[in-house]
Symmetry: D3
């Protein structure tokens, strides 16, 4: 069950409101790299967690934190929209600066939300929940979470560079910090499970006889004219410790030429296909 | 530039066509865990790759392989739809087996595609390209790729269990094998870059002064009544080697109570808000 | 800032797991009538609230409650999926009951989530945040909320009828009850603002001179052959108390026949259009 | 069956075409507050109407009117796009005004539609029909309609402020007027059904024994530190006349700590979860 | 401006209601091959029509007809849902026929719409307006329309085969007939414009100097092992009468190996990329 | 099976990078008129092709070519983003030109992709695969393909006009040329099948007795006040050679007034509807 405090998790201050930056910040709320995504992802993973219950608790605790991140980011968007133009006069419309500010803003911040945050990205596209990755597999989910936090910290770092407002920089430095922790927190679960060698290949419960293991450890060079890019993945022990990496180049297809034959009557095709 | 062979990368055989399994297989084509996603993800990552060009080549080569996976899976769907009912007679409609088969099938396999694969998931939902994660950050992208392959192998393993058709099991064992390789291939890039300690936190180019590092290494317990789940993430050195993990419990908010004041005239609110 | 308790807001018990009912329940989580929608709608309305701060507090408190509803519904879905088939044998595949159960289930509950809830509706369609209505106008938002709770209680009542599991009926009776309260709670705000007459027309801040009031109070019968449906809306005082309702039938258009003339060169049209 | 006149329902005149305002107007066509939504919502409600047929007729008549609104708004968009730049010269590209105009325009008005309206919102996002609320419940639908018209009039009022074109202001004043009528028209149905007390709680057909009525009339304060916002919803008779409103603060969860136990074999999880 | 008659364009009769066929029929309402699409496509094309106004009129007239098709199909869906189960008893839940019927139905027909049509396809996916193709180019639009009607008649023919209800077959035979007319109607515009030779290549207003015409008339065989499929497209005069078709096989790429160099500082990449 | 060369199909050169044109180019990658769509459309049509296998081969060869188009367009986007601003200083933020450039750019090119192409359109909307039309009917698919190439060439021509960069114009002239070929290539299949008369009506396999042919050849004028637009579609032989075109004006509806009666108990409606 969830509870709430009336205060924000972190202080939000905007020294000079900027409607264009409000639009940029939306990416951190409703973008695929944003906070709604991680809040909901950890929440649904927690609800589906099976096995040691401490992972469930950990997921729910951080889901709860991410809800708080949405909250202070939402406030930051609203503060950046203070003073945005709500009416147009002829002179203003001809002023290139006013025009540019309005051109760079999200029109729905004026038309739809009344100068407030929306659950959308920086192009105004609503977040959709297909991005909530929750597979029931603990290792797959931890990878998904570390990935989400990696992309989140990339985004926060880019946002930090795109503003010179001291209040916004302060808030983003907090976000960058929490994304640092969260990245490592999920990878630490993998380390605790024995590290990459133990968890790979995901799922590690798939019986070997379900796998055509003769195809499991070669890098396939599908290029007609480029040499194989050599690296850790072309030789040496596989990361799961079960085999050696090799390379296959200029391979022939292993399968047949597909042929579905003629169409059946009643199938809605042209007569010539039947 | 792309080229094509008329043959499939791997042999596809269906011993007993099953329209319901055709629907399940769609998840491996057009689901978020499927092959369109990884083909396009590696393709767009390759197009945006900056830095050592071998990663670009590697991405493009595997993108090309994933296109071939779409192709043989698409053939498998079509073969599973052979013989699906295209007309209805009264008797059949009352036969529970026929009814069940048709109820469990994707109606669009009959109505829209003419018994062929579609770029949709097992609920008939079209794949959308928002799931193509390509951030320009090499480590973030490698994590995204390892995650995608992890979820892909989870899916292929579940599909393997959901059929008893020998041909389908053979094909899926090939997919499971390639997903094994691909998971490790992307993680091997991280190992080559110095391992997790070197790449974390992603992006490792963010200057320390952009980060409120006093918030970077504590696990935040946001629960009112659950103890902190202890683990690798609550003590010991951080995975990036820069600090020690700690814990904060029952923390007070650091921010203010948000207040946007009254609404401006002309903002489309009720008078009582202004 | 959000906090969490490890316990559910309400007790969840499933006496006889039913994968098909798990799919139905998804509508109450990720459907447009569901809990993610109201949780996020109240949350974003709260973040954008201007005017008397008590409405902000009220919105955030109920947003928090709705998050708890997602949580116990998610647990109910998982419990209904206990025992769902994860493997297929030839005999089973021919058993109409097994086939029917699997045909009626959401395949992604098996393939994607590992027998857990997903943020999707009963057809497996992910919730998208475009359904979060938060206009910044208090009265419009209260109407949106009352509407959402109305559709939510309709849904919960239908779900109640579609199960005979005592545990599920008990849980749904709680949901029905809370939806009763929430419907009235939002309408009570309107009553407190002076009732419908005072808040209408929304927004009540639009100056009269912005409105062609000669068109504001007639019901327009656009039918060629049906009489005007008489009722409260065809005569008597308007609900905002500003005028009398009237009716217009068989009206002629007030506008011109539209004509865009010929296309400009360079506009990508056919020559014949230019 | 539908018919058409060649003339527009209302006169459309644009004195000074403005591509950026064309983009803003799209919100009134294809936004969630727009005319496609209400046209289709009333149309589908009409098709599903059960009970007194006058509501069906009323819905269909207004659906038909809303189609006419799409039509004149579409013409307004095209007229605002007259003269938009279709070619670029080097000098123009360096002119900040030209750049700003093009930056503020919807690129697809030039690239995709040939200077015409599209069924999209002001960010170019296509309308999707999930926003057509038609529940089969008359009261829920009337609330949905009043809400839609409320948000529509908020939007039209904001658009009115964002232009200084006399023709556009005239057209928008007509829209504002019709939205005034439509808001009240749907609420008048509720009044005719006996008013809010009679229709609440929606659906009023749910048997009392399906509802845990001990939870139906309290406002739940989920905040840890904010006092209950007092108002019409915290005391006094409930709006449905069945009970008194009360308040619950600092409530303990009523449910259990959820626990799904260990994962089953064959479920695609990690071994450690099983 | 639109008007309406209270009667349907065509008689709808359902002899034996079938919830599963109701779901199938949804494809003809809200599927990409369905009536909402063509109604809206012709409507938006009409609003953007430039050049001879008779095409605008023609488009609007048929748009109006398609609205009437939505209407009678919507009634057909509702009639097929008459008698669908709204409550569940234990025995019924174990009856394979009941289970199969419910498994094959759209759950939202019960849960969301109250046994009525929805603007969704046969998988319950809401129609989205991105499928409204209206380019401003008359020939491109006519092709889009002929295509839409082609896919519509394919769908109607398949639906005809999937029912044995005499009333439904009668209604579908009307739809098939109108799709016959509409296919030809749009192609007749092309014939009137001079036929394919005159309208091709679309747009025929593109100046020849904007086109690298040395690449305009060869079929490119990108296969490594398949011979060129010979046909009308590999030799003989081009359909636009401007050149002869030829073939290119085993072509080398004409472009460079792409290289974006190293990443810039501040771009959120890993240090190793910079 | 697919293969790849390291070189681009066509040379890409950008003389003066322009972030706004990068955004425009996205329409040609991820727009409905773009290359992902045709690549995937031909790919899925090929996988479902039944009948003469040369059409399958032809589809797959051109699908492969379109993948190469995505690739060089993706490179063009990245080159146009070279030098885009990644940091903001106070002065710059006040410079109208800088502001305009950033306002006209896609913010996600900076925030999400790290200055690279994304699988989205010019408004940043991700491509979704519902636009992959593959019906199994050869003639319907050829029409869909010719349509797609028509809209593609319209788009490429408009893009050509919207840039004055010589490198970009050169690349677009290649695209225009290939779209010329592809348009004709698909229509040539129809010609080879006997021309429009032979393939119409699509599908030509629908038995005549499934069609109410008395409704198959009249143009329906649904206007109340406009004369029938006379043309090839109002008289003369039908394009399929089976009948003569005629016209019907001021037609009365053929169907009944729809009536669903009262609602059933347990259907979640208001009592007044039951």
């Amino acid at each position: 069950m969830f509870y709430h405090s009336g205060k924000l998790q972190y202080q939000v201050r905007v020294d000079r409101p900027d409607p264009q930056f409000a639009k940029y910040l939306q990416q951190a709320i409703g973008g695929v790299e944003g906070e709604i995504r991680v809040a909901m992802q950890y929440f649904f993973q927690a609800m589906g967690a099976r096995g040691d219950s401490k992972y469930r608790d950990m997921l729910m605790m951080t889901a709860t934190e991410e809800l708080s991140h949405i909250e202070f980011l939402g406030h930051a968007v609203a503060l950046n929209l203070e003073g945005a133009p709500l009416t147009v006069q002829e002179d203003a419309a001809r002023d290139p600066i006013v025009h540019a500010i309005m051109g760079g803003a999200d029109p729905r911040h004026i038309l739809s939300s009344g100068l407030s945050a929306m659950p959308v990205d920086s192009n105004g596209i609503p977040f959709d929940m297909s991005h909530v990755y929750a597979s029931g597999n603990l290792a797959a989910d931890m990878m998904a979470n570390a990935m989400a936090e990696g992309s989140g910290r990339v985004l926060a770092s880019r946002l930090y560079n795109m503003t010179d407002d001291a209040g916004m920089k302060d808030m983003l430095s907090f976000l960058i910090a929490r994304d640092t922790m969260h990245q490592q927190q999920w990878l630490a679960v993998i380390e605790e499970l024995g590290g990459m060698q133990a968890v790979l290949p995901i799922p590690n419960s798939t019986p070997t006889e379900h796998e055509a293991t003769e195809h499991s450890y070669y890098f396939l060079n599908t290029s007609l004219d480029e040499p194989t890019p050599e690296g850790r993945w072309t030789s040496g022990p596989s990361l799961d410790g079960r085999a050696e990496f090799t390379v296959r180049e200029k391979v022939e297809p292993l399968g047949q030429k597909p042929d579905l034959g003629r169409a059946r009557p009643n199938s809605g095709t042209q007569i010539e296909q039947q």
